[in-house]
Symmetry: C2
Subunit: 361 residues, 2 copies
């Protein structure tokens, strides 16, 4: 009985042993070492390359391949139009001023704000990675077809039933990653305001399972084998965990970020646009509190405005102005090597299934 949960539509699609995916965590945490360790353990590691130049993406892929010959994935952000609203920029600058002053920093808005998506995508296609996942929107049908034609499993991100149905209707994706409200980091949706699309993962998986005939990956708040088992029983074909991997030694999580994760409780996260201009969940801190009601400019403009401030704060060990992305399960994070964590998760999942069916508790 305990073996069967491993064999799902997602493990078949990706050619992996375990329906356990390490979420792409752009901006540092998802290093090639973390991705390779998860894939070596039988799960699927995914590089979060949304902020990276094509050259850096190519180098990261090469590094993963140096460390493992197992399948792995890459995630990118689908671009949204850049609109510079001078009023919002001024409001953001005014709110950021006290924080910038502490670092003797004069914040300037300097383009480019984001990397060239088409050039990033070219690398994915060229390198023929095993899986490509995307967030914040939907690439063109032609782009999706080219990726699938190259043998790459393509996975879209949905935060509501409507988005999951829209992804299926493109006819261009192999699987849907469902991001529950619990999830840390950026909201990945694309219909309506991301901050209004905050559905609990269990509810989201079940409603989408009834309407969408694609393999489903559940993400949000999953920290252990009980959560993985619940996602699978609830209708998903795999579980994707991000926050659970943030404290692994292989993760590129900065020292002040790690320190904040160690003491955060389940009620300490908040949805904020203070760091990037796009709704994301992280541990509440001074910057998210100070900018809670400021009408900041949208991503990627706000992201560019706070970039240097965040870099200096990380270097100074100051978590008060860092984006401390984390999900509802943050308090259950474990500082284990990634390979050991994946093995532990699989073993806990076995136990969760056995307990409910066999000897009781």
């Amino acid at each position: 009985m305990t073996a069967t949960w491993r064999d799902t539509a997602v493990t078949q699609l990706l050619g992996v042993r375990l329906p356990i995916i390490a979420a792409p965590m752009a901006g540092g945490p998802s290093t090639p070492a973390l991705v390779a360790a998860v894939s070596e353990a039988g799960g699927l590691g995914v590089l979060g390359c949304g902020y990276d130049s094509p050259d850096r993406i190519r180098a990261a892929i090469a590094e993963v391949r140096r460390l493992t010959d197992k399948p792995f994935g890459v995630n990118l952000f689908v671009p949204t139009p850049v609109e510079i609203d001078d009023t919002a920029v001024a409001a953001a600058l005014a709110a950021l001023e006290p924080f910038a002053a502490a670092y003797d920093l004069d914040i300037a808005l300097t383009p480019p704000f984001a990397e060239d998506f088409d050039a990033q995508l070219e690398v994915i296609l060229d390198e023929r990675v095993d899986m490509f996942s995307f967030t914040f929107g939907v690439p063109s049908y032609n782009a999706l077809a080219a990726l699938r034609g190259a043998g790459i499993a393509v996975c879209g991100t949905a935060t509501s039933l409507a988005e999951a149905v829209a992804l299926q209707q493109t006819g261009g994706v192999d699987a849907v990653c469902l991001q529950g409200t619990e999830a840390g980091g950026h909201r990945g949706g694309f219909i309506g305001a991301p901050e209004d699309s905050l559905v609990g993962i269990e509810t989201l998986v079940s409603e989408v399972r009834s309407a969408v005939d694609l393999p489903l990956i559940a993400a949000g708040g999953i920290m252990d084998g009980r959560g993985i088992a619940a996602a699978l029983v609830g209708g998903a074909d795999a579980a994707q965990l991000g926050t659970a991997f943030l404290r692994c030694p292989e993760a590129g999580t900065s020292a002040p970020y790690r320190a904040a994760l160690e003491t955060a409780r389940d009620t300490d996260t908040v949805i904020t646009k203070a760091f990037s201009g796009r709704a994301a969940r992280g541990v509440r801190n001074a910057l998210s509190e100070a900018l809670a009601d400021v009408p900041v400019p949208p991503y990627p403009v706000m992201n560019a405005l706070t970039r240097e401030l965040r870099r200096r704060a990380a270097a100074a060990g100051d978590s008060s102005v860092l984006s401390l992305w984390a999900g509802h399960g943050v308090a259950a994070g474990r500082a284990l090597p990634a390979l050991k964590l994946v093995i532990t998760l699989a073993s806990e999942t076995d136990v969760a299934f056995t307990r409910t069916h066999g000897e009781g508790r």
Copy 2:
């Protein structure tokens, strides 16, 4: 295999056949007919009596007993101090004025704002119902001991790990109901601001399971057998469903409320204090939008201010100023008789377990 999920610490505690509880929905929906039908089907129906006078509670209990000899429960609100903040009352009155004018209503603040909790509790004790659950706080140890001494199973409500641990530490509760952020209606917590304690149910169940050694009831966003199975595998001993029962013919849900439920989507609910002064989740409407940023007075003062307006709106079939409590799963609601719904839920739970373990999908 499919039989064993029915036998849990909660079914043993309550003496019922199924670990399926119909949530107490005060203010109308949880009629004696609904409660009795759920209990007849093998689950546990729970009267939501927070707003009711002792006489009305006694009458409702008698009516359930006329309809069934099966176990059932009663839920009450633990009182919080009544503070009348004139500034907040004035702000609320100003914001409510356009809505009141449409009904030619002159809103006045007239005590008493809430029923006498001790007198309500006296009825529970006297009637020796099978299960008593409470929200918004924790009754005194003496009160809990008296209830348990009378053979009543006592269940507290927690929205975070800290609250669940606090309930265990009282030494006075038999089970903990965990309310995830997905849940419709009032937030039941008591540590910190209820609107800041919004943890997804899967995460909440797993973290509490690791720390608390009491039977756990999972509530929030559960609408079908997949959700029940996920809750049980995830570490709960029973699932509590509210929104799933709102459209049953036996429920006291008003006609305009039902109409709103029929068209609501997963992203249409919002946490609001606009109706009662206490954070609650419901379908977004004109009143919740208009009062989103108004610093209204706390429960029960705000509840008293909007009471007559809501009564008139319900009578007029106007959902724009009604509290349309509902959870994330609102779109998956079914207009089935309660007995049939419980039987369907049990059958779906069987299927969910079989699919994950046996023949795959």
